[in-house]
Amino acid sequence: MKAHLTRRYMFSASHRLHSDAMSEEENKVTYGKCNNPYGHGHNYALEVTVSGPVDESTGMVCNLTDLDAFVEREILERFHLQNLNVVPEFHEAVPTTENLSTSIYDILQRGFRYAHLEKVRIQETVMNSFEYAGGNEIRK
């Protein structure tokens, strides 16, 4: 039988929202306080949802230790306690939580082999969250 497993991870990072495609004035108007050149930070909560048949011999969709190890190595190592603007993913893209969601989804989609990736959800603050499923409908 098919089940969906969601695991939540915390990481903290700083960023500045600024687009080279816009004038200084337009950046200020578009990003407001988030355009502060010194940057600011968030405690992000990342939720990774994977799905698949529950293996009868283990009772699991995938072994949590494999998911935790992958996320630790490929995602938390890359983003936790970093300035997102200097991380390769954001040399060109603006480090909004939208772009962070698609980047993290792509990393998982490319490398995680133990279960099907359903979606990622990122809470930037308790007031806002973002979900991405690679263009697929998100199941509630």
Binding site: A3, H4, L5, T6, R7, Y9, V61
Partner: protein, 136 residues
Amino acid sequence: MVYLTRKAEFAASHYYHNPEFSPEENRRIFGKCNNPNGHGHNYTLEVTVKGEVDPRSGFVVDLKHLKEVLNREVLDAMDHRFLNKEVPEFFSRIPTTENLAISIWQRLAPKLNTAHLHRVRVYETPDLFVDFYGEA
């Protein structure tokens, strides 16, 4: 279509062990969860039902009925229990969060008369949960 979610909490202990695996395999696959003395969690259960709103009652489901079924079929059987030793389906099935969600679905689905079960979500801890939608 309106979706309604009812939440409940229960505390239970469990351990993970497959008698077909060698002791080394059990330890490698299940890690600390293989300790036969068991360990426990405060589980949070969310049961979501869906349906059209009845024009007379204004309800999708009689919440009183849902709560009774939930208490009788799930909480009475699992709250403050050692899942491996006291809940029959876990005599043979490993009581992972995945199997717990499936088992709760199987206990509830035949007992809900008007509402259609949409999703069973079981939180083992605040940072780990499983959703089951009744899919084969």
